[in-house]
């Protein structure tokens, strides 16, 4: 019960109020953990089920939890509720502080969210688009779906043509 504990700093992505949370994790035998979150200590027990989900008991409350690694973040699914969380240990935090100056604003890549057929392309390289503007229409599973710009900018690349079939995740349009 008195093992060494490790400190983590976690931030929930995409929330209005994204204050970092401090968590101290102490591992015991048999998948049991004590975790202190914002000053309150919780007893956790985690069991991995055959299909990959984790049965998690938090102070006796029962949750089915699934994890997915999303870049540097961990995505957590619990009761249909999805959070994307950045969890950093102290070494990682120091590293980040050192490289923060080099961070840049990313460009926006619109990729095919499913395999399908390109029905219509509304934009060409050089066009200026506003947030929410329709870029192209794909057909999949008998439905036509419009892909929209998620931010304003200039179209720098259009890598699909009307009438062609594209695979999942194919890059279609780039906006900068």
């Amino acid at each position: 019960m008195t093992g060494r504990s490790t400190r983590y700093v976690a931030t929930v992505r995409g929330q209005k109020n994204s204050t970092p949370h401090t968590l101290d994790v102490q591992a015991h035998q048999g998948g049991q953990y004590s975790v202190t979150l914002n000053g309150t200590r919780h007893e956790l027990e985690a069991v991995v089920l055959p299909h990959g989900a984790v049965s998690l008991l938090v102070d006796g409350q029962s949750y089915g939890v699934e994890f997915e690694e999303a870049g540097d973040d961990v995505a957590v699914l619990v009761k249909g509720h999805v959070s994307r969380i950045d969890v950093a240990d102290e070494r990682k935090l120091r590293l980040r502080a050192a490289t923060a100056a080099f961070a840049v604003e990313g460009r926006q890549v619109i990729a095919a969210p499913m395999p399908g057929k390109i029905i219509k392309v509304f934009v060409k390289v050089g066009d200026t688009v506003t947030e929410g503007q329709g870029l192209l229409v794909m057909e999949a599973m008998k439905m036509e779906n419009e892909l929209k710009a998620t931010k304003a900018g200039k179209v720098t690349e259009v890598s699909c043509a009307e009438g062609t079939t594209v695979e999942n995740n194919t890059k279609l349009v780039v906006i900068e």
Partner: protein, 507 residues
């Protein structure tokens, strides 16, 4: 009368399985047809026999009449059940079946023709004295003519494909400014879906409910109705939730609508299972919308409250049998159905085909699952994204809603994104609970239905993420220290399980 001994089901997915289940119970042999993309689909295994009818696109397989009929002859089937969609409302196919000596389980070609094209159906109904929505009865040759007519009945108006159904080729137009783009979209969708780009328009009603009446007719001149279904929870005119009884119908209104529905069916010499769709406006006036001359997707709710197997009745009538009951049946209790789609409500309901890694369907009292998939199955990209219909029954509407919530909580589909959480949100939405939700309910409540963050679950997620990260770090440390000590793994072999998709939206 020839007895039906073997039925070819000219469909796929859940409805093919639904029809085969009844055949199986009746001791009738079943024949599946499948496209090249569907060789590993569940309906192929559910059937006694199975024949390939062409490549993946429906137009080259499930819609090729000759191939379907050839399969039926080869298999020795004596009847064809069309399910819904595909060839189910195609009078030419009915005639082709008859010519080939096969019983078509459905209405005669003539009633299909009378009801198949919406403008013709309207004209028929007007003649039979059935109330219809104010609007034009003929497709418009040009956008200009249509626009002029829209101005005369007043906005908003509805554009509708003359040859269609299922919400395809339909567009609501709020004002003259939006007319042109809506007209183009409706025509193109109509052409793509039905090979016919004729479009007409109607006045849009005030807070309309979509309420439909199930009718059933035999070849001996009997026709009854089996009560209504409330189908106002629609998205892009695609039904999402259906229930019976309708929360807004009085017994008087039910009886009136039932009577009109029977009259409508009789006026076209209908036989078999059919559905008369009505719009019921804020003043509870009802208007004929269209007739679906086939088994409806949402037929299970009617089965729940009547105890009738509608597919068994279809076969019985096709065999020349007299309807088992000749009086309307009072509904018993309340039933709700939700449609589980492989789609992502957060990205404008984008379809999400892919492999189902894990599946657990709900069980327990009065829960029914009609699905066409199985664990390990890859939902293909070529067909409708409907993967399951979940329906429940309870003595009262609030109990049925509570049961549906429970059933949705139990439903696990891993590997692809589904609308289960969105459906769950509908079951908690105040407007839905109130019962008086019109056809604009889903678009109106959309942001609410996507759900909000729950602080308690966020806390659990933080704790879980910390433990996950900690465990991962420990494992990495261990594997750095001793990569040679094999066999003995840690106490809890964590792994990132099946994928759950589109977690944080696009980036």
């Amino acid at each position: 009368m020839p007895k039906i001994r073997k039925v070819l089901v000219a469909n796929r997915g859940e409805i093919a399985i639904r029809v085969m289940r009844t055949c199986h119970e009746l001791g009738i042999g079943t024949v599946a047809v499948y496209s090249e993309a569907d060789r590993d689909a569940l309906h192929v295994r559910q059937a006694d026999q199975a024949f390939c009818v062409g490549p993946a696109p429906s137009r080259e397989s499930y819609l090729v009449q000759d191939n379907i009929i050839a399969a039926a002859k080869k298999a020795g089937a004596d009847a064809i059940h069309p399910g819904y969609g595909f060839l189910s409302e195609n009078p030419n196919f009915v005639r082709a079946c008859e010519k080939a000596g096969l019983i078509f389980i459905g209405p005669p070609a003539s009633s299909m023709e009378s009801m198949g094209e919406k403008t013709r159906a309207r004209a028929h109904m007007v003649k039979a004295g059935v109330p219809v929505v104010p609007g034009a009865t003929e497709p418009f040759p040009t956008a200009e003519a249509a626009k002029a007519f829209a101005a005369s009945v007043g906005y908003p108006v509805m554009l509708k494909a003359s040859g269609g159904g299922g919400g395809k080729g339909m567009r609501k137009v709020e004002s003259a400014a939006d007319f042109d783009s809506a007209w183009r979209a409706a025509k193109s969708e109509a052409m793509n879906s039905f090979g016919n780009d004729a479009v007409y328009l109607e006045k849009y009603l005030d807070k309309p409910h979509h309420v439909e009446v199930q009718v059933f007719a035999d070849t001996h001149g009997h026709c009854i109705h089996l009560n209504e279904r409330e189908c106002s929870a629609q998205r892009r005119h695609q039904k999402v939730v259906e229930e019976t009884p309708s929360p807004i119908l009085t017994p008087q209104l039910r009886a009136q609508m039932g009577e009109v529905a029977v009259k409508a069916a009789q006026s076209v010499g209908y036989v078999g299972a059919g559905t008369i769709e009505f719009l019921v406006d804020a003043s509870r006036k009802f208007y004929f919308l269209e007739m679906n001359t086939r088994l409806q997707v949402e037929h299970p709710v009617t089965e729940w409250v009547t105890g009738i197997d509608l597919v068994a009745w279809q076969i019985h009538v096709a065999n020349g049998g007299v309807l088992p009951f000749l009086e309307p049946i009072s509904p018993r209790g309340h039933a709700i159905e939700v449609r589980i789609y492989a789609e992502d409500p957060r990205t404008n309901f984008m379809p999400s085909p892919g492999k189902i890694q894990y599946l657990r369907v709900p069980g327990g009292p009065n829960v029914r699952d009609d699905s066409g998939v199985y664990a390990g199955y890859t939902v293909p990209n070529f067909y409708d994204p409907l993967i399951s219909k979940l329906s429940v029954w309870a003595p009262t509407r609030p109990e049925a809603i509570a049961r549906m919530r429970r059933a949705l909580d139990e439903y696990v589909v891993k590997g692809i994104t589904t609308n289960i959480r969105y459906l769950r949100a509908i079951m908690e939405n105040e407007e839905f609970l109130g019962g008086d939700y019109d056809t604009a309910f889903l678009p109106r409540q959309h942001p609410k239905l996507l759900g909000e963050d729950d602080p308690a679950l966020t806390e659990v997620s933080l704790l879980a993420a910390a433990v996950y990260t900690h465990q991962r770090a420990q494992k990495q440390a261990r594997s750095l220290v001793s990569t040679t000590s094999s066999g003995k793994s840690g106490p809890s072999a964590w792994r990132s399980g099946g994928r759950f998709h589109r977690l944080g939206g696009r980036s």
